[in-house]
Symmetry: C2
Subunit: 283 residues, 2 copies
């Protein structure tokens, strides 16, 4: 049996449903794959948890996607898990694993003229300094800032609310002061959290003119198309007559709170998420 005519199975994992912004980008870049999305909503948010706990939870989720759902590729659509647990996940499963941090740093490298960039993310992602490390590998200096209020504001649906604009101003002004103190001449702002693409319009208005906003979700999907596209399973997914191969196949699973996932998920995916199935990872 060859891979010929078979759609690649891509597992997409997040602690919640924010990673649906990454799935949305993947659907644009690799439209003929079969996707299984798993949100570990019973144990979110990962952002306030330790590296050990995050590695444990994320590895369990990755094994579920590979062993139970047959994923041939994994995208860790969660900045915190990518920052703190990518090595642990790679060790836990025998398939290629792509996180969101490295693609974000590579996109920042492509966008920045000055070599100085800003990164906004959750507290745990910032504390891990994963973006600073990935940016340094790309020859960039990165200043990172935790913005803990932005995720709850997005989940409250206040993506175009004056309060959210003020909160963004508070955070960006603090970041500007820190950048000035450290002598950074930044020209890019990396969105280091999968919720933040929904705030892109407000963030574009709030940044200093000339500063480019870099979306890790988009950068990750581009990288996935390039990396996974070299493997037979993806190379051979040209549209065919079979419904399974050409149809849009997305299944969503959550470890809890299916109702909230279904209610809010479509905002992140940019289309209806459909029925979300409950799965027990034993947490």
């Amino acid at each position: 049996m060859t891979h010929s005519g078979k759609s690649p199975r891509i597992g997409v994992f997040d602690s919640g449903f924010g990673g649906l912004t990454v799935l949305s980008a993947l659907l644009r870049h690799i439209p003929h794959a079969c996707y299984t999305f798993l949100g570990d909503t019973a144990r979110l948010p990962y952002g306030s948890k330790s590296r050990r706990t995050i590695a444990h939870y994320a590895s369990e989720a990755a094994q579920y996607l590979v062993n139970e759902q047959g994923a041939e590729y994994l995208v860790i659509a969660c900045n915190t898990a990518s920052a703190l647990a990518l090595d642990a996940i790679q060790e836990a499963v025998p398939v290629p694993v792509l996180g969101v941090v490295e693609p974000g740093a590579m996109a920042a490298r492509a966008a920045s003229q000055t070599g100085d960039v800003l990164v906004i993310a959750t507290a745990a992602t910032v504390q891990s300094h994963a973006y600073a490390t990935a940016c340094k590998t790309q020859g960039l200096r990165a200043l990172e800032k935790a913005c803990p209020l932005l995720v709850p504001l997005v989940e409250e649906g206040w993506t175009d609310h004056p309060v959210t604009a003020q909160v963004i101003d508070v955070y960006l002004n603090e970041l500007r002061r820190e950048a000035k103190q450290e002598g950074l001449r930044y020209d890019a702002l990396v969105l280091g959290c999968t919720h933040y693409p929904l705030l892109r319009p407000l963030l574009e208005k709030a940044v200093t003119p000339g500063v480019r906003v870099i979306d890790s979700a988009e950068a990750t999907a581009e990288t996935a198309a390039r990396l996974f596209g070299q493997a037979p399973a993806v190379r051979l997914t040209a549209p065919s007559a079979s419904g399974v191969e050409t149809g849009l196949v997305v299944r969503c699973f959550a470890t809890d709170s299916v109702e909230k996932f279904e209610r809010l998920g479509s905002r992140f995916l940019g289309r209806p998420v459909g029925k979300v199935e409950l799965v027990d990872l034993g947490g």
Copy 2:
């Protein structure tokens, strides 16, 4: 062996460290007890989780406090767990268990002249309608509203920030409109979340004049002093010469994120929390 001269051991449980506001009130009302506080920080927030998951987690935590820490009384200093899992916790342990919802409703009954009250809380607490049910038992009509942004604002330390005042105004204005539609003549606002006492100054300014703000944490501590005070262990805790009996004994445990607990906990407890010990509940 009798209980004579022995300090009662009170276990206090929360999904995070917000319940430290309840512990703070307990320390004022039952100052000579020995307290063990457990924050299930690895699995917070409970507010977005299902009843089944919350009951499972909270029962595990209650059993830890009773079986491992020798708690003779339990205070569930978490509105979500009190609302969704008090029965399950009662079944899981052989000691008296007190939640925060019923004392809050009783305090509202004592404060309200009109018999109509407002309740603000997390999404899960509101969805459970635990306050409406408890208020109804007290002969009160209650209108409940979820205020998901208030917990993150408190945890960001913005307890006196203009943005927080605006968010409170948005929520209270929506609540006023709903109350008007339903013809409620409310004169009390119940704080149905243990984080909210830290916002009391802003809330007192924001409520309609004549509306009393009711703190469930304070009401719970008063009820605990009355209920547990009838049991021998508490009756016999008058100050003595022994350090163990008269000294302030508080031990804090968390299932994760000890650093955040230690950094933010003192704001909630109103005094330093000291060293927080890590415990694994197997989640």
